[in-house]
Each structure stands twice: as structure tokens, then as C-alpha cells.
Symmetry: C2
Subunit: 278 residues, 2 copies
């Protein structure tokens, strides 16, 4: 059934300024890039620091109130991270609402979340025309600490199954009281976001492409880049002889999909709409 694809609003701070034909504001595109990124980079401002801070964290898009929502729907981002204590302490504090004439900002700590997949090294005739094939997404929103234990449990399962689908049921669950209370989960209400995707072969200027001395000696093309999940290595106290089916299947399927995507991006025929190809 055809349906309208939802898009994030184009706020001045969230729009892609350069090479905008590569930009996307579709929720589905952005959420898929976020959900398939094993590490998210989360930026926030610590009032005690002269610099913004970035922490690597795990996260998945989800909807606690409507768990059946899919990646094209309006979703929250749930974050969990080992080094998130500072972020969590700050997000406990009410947000700064000192100016009252504009509408007060939503509660929570303003954050930016980025996910970037590298798909290929694009090697052109000149260093300036070099590029990457990539899929990157950025989200802006307000982070608050999840206090409801059942929402925390929902997020813990979402994030665990985001690492390996089926792992939650395949491990010792439910978490006991101590585990549930010691886990901190952040929920980010998304204000807006965008994605940027580059695929295809190199694109050099005509002058270089018509210079036989240059084209005769400089190799041009794409080195596809993809992540591989290796053969699982059993740990020292593992007593299960065989790698479980859900895990073996995930390793095989993910490897096939990721390799195919990188080569597909490398071979993509791109119809140029004018403008520089970088």
C-alpha cells in the first residue's frame, strides 16, 4: 500500500548546505542509518567545560507507546553508554529556560547524534575530486533520563536486540532488580534530522578527464569498504558447543548485505544534475 514518507522539518541548523542533492530528510532513511550504526556519537555541552563533548554510545530508535511503529514513523532515540555518567547527570537537571519571550525549550539536554557508514574510497584523478562513498545521518533533540522501569526494560531489549537480533531472548533475562536499577537509559525526543548519502564512481573535471597524460597514468575508481563480522570466538566460560542459530544467521546475512551494499555503491550509475561532484 503506498503511503506518504514522513520528513523532518528543515530547520536552519539542521539543513545540509553543500551538495544538497545528496541530502535526505526522510525519517525512514535517517532512522535506518542510525539503527544500523553499532556506535553513535553523541554531542552535548557540559556547563563546566569550554568545549562541546562527544561520547560514543549505543542507541536504537523506538516507540515505547507504540512498539509496533516502524523505521518510517515518528520515533524516539534510546541511548545507553558506558561512559555516559556525565551526560546523565547533566540531563537530570532541568533545561535552561532563562529567556521567556520565545516559547520555552522542551525539557532535557540539547544533544546532537551522528552516525556515519563508510562505503568506499573514491579515488579520482586529482586529490580535490577524491571523496568517500558514505551514508551519514544526524539528529538533533532533547535528552532526558528514563525513569519508568518498564520503559527502561523496553529500551534495554531494543538496544540489546540492536546488537544481535534475538540476543535478548538468547541470554539470561529478565534483568534482576539490581541490574534494572543500575542501568541508565536516555531518551531523546527528536526535533529534526537529516541524512547525506554519496554513491557512485569518481567524478573529475572535464579538463583532467581529457588530459591523456593524466588518464594514462592515474588509476581511478572506488575501493569498496564494508564491515565484517568474523567467526564467533567462544569465551573462557562458554559451555554451549554450537554457535546459536540466530547468531550464525545474523553473521552470515549481515556480511552478505554489507559487502553487497559497498560494491553496489561503487558500481552505481549516477545521473549528474550539474554542479561539482565531490
Amino acid at each position: 500500500m503506498p503511503r506518504t514518507e514522513l520528513e523532518y522539518p528543515k530547520e536552519p541548523y539542521g539543513t545540509v548546505k553543500r551538495y544538497s542533492p545528496r541530502a535526505s530528510y526522510a525519517l525512514r532513511t535517517i532512522h535506518t542509518i542510525i539503527n544500523t550504526s553499532p556506535i553513535l556519537h553523541v554531542s552535548f555541552n557540559d556547563p563546566k567545560s569550554p568545549f562541546p563533548t562527544i561520547l560514543p554510545m549505543l542507541g536504537q530508535m523506538g516507540s515505547f507507546s507504540r512498539p509496533s511503529a516502524d523505521e518510517g514513523d515518528v520515533l524516539d532515540l534510546y541511548l545507553h553508554g558506558y561512559v555516559s555518567s556525565r551526560l546523565i547527570n547533566i540531563s537530570r537537571q532541568p533545561s535552561d529556560a532563562s529567556s521567556t519571550s520565545p516559547p520555552p525549550p522542551p525539557p532535557g539536554l540539547p544533544v546532537c547524534i551522528a552516525a556515519s557508514h563508510l562505503d568506499g574510497l573514491v579515488l579520482a584523478l586529482t586529490p580535490n575530486a577524491h571523496s568517500y562513498n558514505y551514508r551519514s545521518a544526524v539528529l538533533f533533540g532533547h535528552a532526558t533520563l528514563v525513569s519508568d522501569p518498564s520503559e527502561r526494560l523496553y529500551a534495554m531489549q531494543l538496544i540489546t536486540d540492536g546488537v544481535v537480533p534475538g540476543r535478548w531472548e538468547g541470554s539470561r533475562v529478565p534483568p534482576n532488580k539490581g541490574e534494572l536499577s543500575s542501568t541508565s537509559v536516555l531518551k531523546v525526543r527528536i526535533a529534526t534530522g537529516s541524512a547525506k548519502i554519496r554513491e557512485g564512481p569518481p567524478g573529475d573535471d572535464r579538463a583532467d578527464k581529457e588530459d591523456a597524460e593524466v588518464t594514462g597514468r592515474v588509476w581511478t575508481g572506488v575501493v569498496p569498504v564494508y564491515q565484517v563480522l568474523g567467526e564467533p570466538v567462544a569465551g573462557p566460560y562458554n559451555e554451549v558447543a554450537e554457535v546459536p542459530g540466530y547468531l550464525g544467521e545474523y553473521v552470515r546475512e549481515t556480511n552478505a548485505v554489507m559487502k553487497e551494499a559497498a560494491f553496489e555503491a561503487a558500481r552505481k550509475v549516477v545521473v549528474k544534475k550539474g554542479g561539482e561532484d565531490e
Copy 2:
């Protein structure tokens, strides 16, 4: 010849608070993680935005005044990115020195740069003990636009050879005047930084490890994760039949090193110094 390893100062905003045995402040460790990361995430504050911003960029550590400096030395970070126009415009403005009683901040835009390598999925008995093997680094510093054309040329070569060593000489160089003037390079003077590394098998609590019902059904271990450079795909106007030696060699060597590192991290015997293993 033995020499002292330099370390970044431990500033309150830059120290790793949790599981600090995994932290490192050694310049060599941090710079190596940054230099081997094909995408860096750069965070800054745009005065017109309610959120911090993250942009994916390319970068390499270097020293224009002492090009022979190695990764253990005091270095600057040179950044180049396709979507950096906003960042570049802001870094042109003088930094805010409104308060005069403390020493004025160094010139440039305060930025944070993060690089994270995923080396493995660490699958434990309980979701709470799940983790990743990873190497992550973060740098804090002040970014300014490089105005000296010869320093910009130095940085362009550094960054191009950071993608594939030898590619600069293997392409059409030097850049012409237009290319040189249209390229924007940011230089970050580093204030401080830190790295965090996790390796080894899962580490569960004793109660779970001694529960035969749990250990008898939950597989535990590490799924090594590594990036692969695929067979180069020639572009539509390539006229060089063979993949050049420096490129083929780089693909083979990088693949061997990255796979080996991921499996080595998975098999690492970790001597516990007490404390939770997450």
C-alpha cells in the same frame, strides 16, 4: 632507544570517569586511533543553533613546522570536510573573550573530535554484561582556518595520503591555483585528549557463571568486527589496466592488520584488577 611517552594533561572535562583502567592519555595511542579512523566526528557550537552540531570530516595529525614528527609527538589536527562550510565560517570569527579576569581563551573555535573503532561484539550471559571491544579517542582544541597556502598544501597531502598512502604522488599533483584556493583546511590546536580501549572476552558476575542452567544454554564469546577494503572497482573513465602497486599493497596489508587486530582483541587474556567488567 627508550624515551618518555608524552601524555595529555588530565583536565576535568577531558578525563574518563568510568572504568578508568581502560583510559589512556598517551599522545601516541590517541593520535594513532585518530589517524587510522577514516571518518572523524567533529562537534562545535553554532551560535545560531539551540543544539551542538556534529559533522563527519576527514583528518590527520601533523606538524607543519616539523613534518618529521611522529605520532608520539605534539601535533596539530588538520581537518577537511565536504560539509564544513558552516564550521569554517564560524572559525573565521575571533573567539569570544568576553570575560577578562581569567586568561583569554586561545584563538579559534572550541571543538571536540571523536574517533571510534569497533573491534568486536562482546556477548555475555546477561544483557547488562554485554559490551563491545573498541578503541576510541577524543580530542579537545581550538580550530582555525589555515591561511598559508604552503601549509594548506602540506595538509592536503597529509590528508590524501591518510586515505591511501602514496595516493598524492599517484594522482595529478600539484593542485592548480583554483584547487588550492577553493580548498578549506582547518587546523586544530589540541588542548587535551584521551583514549579508551576495551579488549578481551566477556566478564559476567560470578552468580551467573556458577548457574549451570544459564551457562548450559547461553553462548558467550566475542564476534570480532573489522573493516575490509574490497577489490578495487575501476571507474568509467579509468584507462590504467592494473591497480597500482601502492594501492594493491595497502588493501592487502590493511585487511590483514585489521582482521588480526579484531581476533587478537577477542582472544586477549585480560588480568582483572577488580571492579565490574563492562
